[in-house]
């Protein structure tokens, strides 16, 4: 499964989603918007990957979802992060920091 082997990218998508949801429960479209706006377009998560990640995270119990009606009166499925999700996020972020730090140690000229 090529899409499952995205490795860093997939892990990064998960972290981004979880982080986003710490701000507020959101629907999928909202999450995509939020990430694009926060990174000023630098990071764009593909919609397909976003939804796969959301459902995967929900199965793992890190997010939960609920149908609702948005401020603009549109029906949508809202996701919120769970206690386990927060723990996972903290662990992922720490891992990512170590990873990026290691990466930069290699990339920066000595």
């Amino acid at each position: 499964m090529a899409r499952e082997s995205l490795g860093l990218v997939q892990g990064t998508v998960d972290v981004l989603i979880l982080k986003t949801l710490t701000w507020a429960p959101m629907h999928g479209y909202g999450i995509a918007q939020w990430i694009r706006q926060r990174t000023e377009g630098a990071l764009a998560v593909e919609d397909a990957a976003l939804y796969q990640a959301l459902h995967r995270l929900e199965r793992k119990g890190w997010v939960e979802s609920e149908w609702g009606v948005s401020d603009t009166n549109r029906k949508a499925k809202f996701y919120h992060i769970t206690r386990d999700g927060r723990k996972q996020l903290a662990a992922d972020v720490a891992e990512l920091r170590r990873y990026v730090a290691a990466l930069f140690k290699v990339l920066q000229p000595a």
Binding site: P25, G28, Y51, H55, R59, G68, F78, T82
Partner: protein
Amino acid sequence: MSSDRPHRPHGTRPLFRFPWLSRRQVSADVDEELRLHIQQTAQELREQGWPAGEARLEAERRFGDLEFTRKFCRDEDLRREGEKRRMTILDELKQDLRYALRALRASPGFTATALLTLALGIGANTAIFSVVRGVLLDPLPFPQADRVVRLWNVDRALGIDRGWVSEPDFIDWRARSKLAESMGGYFFADGQLGLDLTGKGNPERISAALVTDGFFQALGTRALLGRTFVSDEHVPGRDRVVVLSHGLWTRRFGSDPSLVNKTLTLNGQPFVVVGIMPPGFTYPADQSLDAWIPVSFFGPDAIGRSRGSRFLSVVARMKPGVNETQLRAEVAGIAARLVREYTDNPGWDDASSLSIRDSILGEVRRPLVVLMVAVAMLLLIACANVASLLLARATGRQRELAVRAALGAGRGRIARQLLTENLTLATLGGLLGIGLGLVAVRAIAAAGASELPRAGDIRIDGVVLAFTLAVSIVSGLLFGLAPTARASGGNLEVSLRSGGRGTVGGAGQRMRSALVVAEVALAVMLVVGAGLATKSFARLLSVKPGFEPSNALVVVTGVPSRYPTAEGRANFYYAILDAIRRVPGVQAAGSIRDLPMQGNGEMNGVTLPGQAVLPGHELTVQRQHISTDYFKALGTPLRAGRTFEMTDREGAPLVVVVNDELAKRFWPAESAVGKTLLIGTTPIQVIGVVGDVRQRGLAEAVEPTMYVHVLQNFRIRMSIVVRTAGDPLTYANAVRQAIWSVDPNQTITSITTLDSVLGHAVSRPRLLAWLMALFGAIGLTLGALGIFGVLAYAVNQRRQEIGVRVALGATPRSVLSLVVGNGMLLAGIGVALGLIGAALVTKSMQTVLYDIRPTDPVTFAEVVVVLLGASLLASWLPARRALAIDPVTALRYD
């Protein structure tokens, strides 16, 4: 906002509230979510200026692999729902279980009472079911046993419905029947037919059945090793062949597989072992049988082969599709034709039949059914009792449950929790019940080992445990039904407001009262059954057997076949008796062919001189072959005349001693001594009259009997009765030595006491009486406990009311009569209903009762007294407590 509580953005409302989703819903949810996303993207694109037609396509393009995502999300969600469902059920169950155990621990008195009650009910059911299963339900050791039937010859005029069949008649039955696939005959009498097995090891008398060709084929059972007999081996000269039982093979030959085709010595003759039968096959014996040999081994000199000489029992295997009625009709037709064809066999022109299952189990089925009904009632009483306890407890717990409901537990959840509690209680009770059942089964199997066919099959195994589990669960549902319905259906606000006192009277009290009535009614039925069974047993025991059972030893042996002459056999017979008579302390010793309760002698047609009777229609009397001193040893009184002397031997005039019954039939007004009887045309003189002996069994009527001296009509079988000065068993060894002093190789079939022979004869009714009495006592106790519990509880609930009454001047007498009256009213209704039920139910006991009618008014009256007495006691104790209520404390109490 950093809460992880489930919540929604402000202003939204939940659209779904099911605890979990169906497959279709999951699928629809995913489709909807993705559709909404694409719709929103498309709208945004339109707002950015994309043409309406292309915006949607672009949105889908930007999304990525839509179909894969759809499938991926759907799979993830389905997996999640599955896990969630499992977790929820498991979690709630665990929670309920923990809660149930805590609740049960919190009220140890209630729990102990309920558990004990259930254990008694379930234990009794486990025990009886395992007996029923072992004896009645396990398949018979014959393939397609429903095609196997027993057949008998019938003589309507003589009133004999189940007569044996002569060998020539049987051969014609077998040859002419078109509906029977195979037909076999056998001769077997329990404990009476033995063969001397000599050679390696101790000489031993083994039990054997004599069989004709077709016997094994009709039953259909194949040999475990080797084979059964072939037709060729039922011909004199080629019939020195034997089939051994699994029991003998393992016991005597250590399961040696090379025994097949080897030779054994039986009655001094070489027999080739052709096969070993599988375990469990002992037909026609109930319990154990050692061997089968062809009946042709005993020639016409030993067993008559005329058409009048009936000795064969017949089994037949019907062709597929043939039913018992058709076969019986066919055989009856054959019998009728045979009577016309052969004039020497008048009268026996009909046939009767019974399925092999009924013929083996018919006698024990009824008592077992009675016991099954009894334990079912016991369980119902136990359930009613526990239900009543639960109801009382539920009233006290209304507040607790109301609080739980207020905290968000749904009605279903509360019902489920109560159900878990009840099932936990039932399962624990069931576990205890299995323990009780184990003990009981051992006791029953030990007590009934000799009296129940297939007692060896009684055991507690997976099937019995499954039954117990099912019974426990059903009980749990049953006794939990009313309390649960009430607790989860009640008005919770009301219970919260009532301050936890619960409601006085009302539906709960009515339900408990109804349960008490039901309990008392069931107890009445059970106790009536117990009363009938024990009375019947007592009456059976009070029957005078016609002999003195104490201080008498019984030795069963026989004259071995190596004495060819009549004189040699007679000498050996009396040598044995004389040796025993010389043992110090032996007061008398005499012998008979069949001991009372152990055999029915031979049947003879007898007439009086000068009487014109059709041949075959004479008065049928029992003929027993005895030695001198037999009546002295047995303790049977001589009424008139004399008994046998050694001079009544071959060559001397034929003489008989008759019993009272025979004397009364033939000479009601005068003395029988000196009168003459005719057997055929042979005149025989009556020399004495003795008291009646219950030969067939205590419950059976005494038959006219004549005793003949073995020296005038010899029989090899010896059942020696030894009258002793003291405890008969202390003489056993000396008697054995005395016999061996005559011949060290003499085989002794059994040594026991006359007491135990008699005890053996009543062991089945004794077992029934004991079990019924036990179940009746438990039922009575539980019923009384039920009344006590309900009244004690009611008194407790009504203490304020009673306090007010006392304060207002009620006398102790009126308080007493209030409570006792309440209890006796319930008991009265219960007793009335129970009597009606008992009258209907005990009818089924008719065949297991001796000398008492199933509707015996005395027993019914006694039961009413016992039940009302127990109820009075059970009501009086709580009433005393009501008397002790101090109005001041009672009113201040709340």
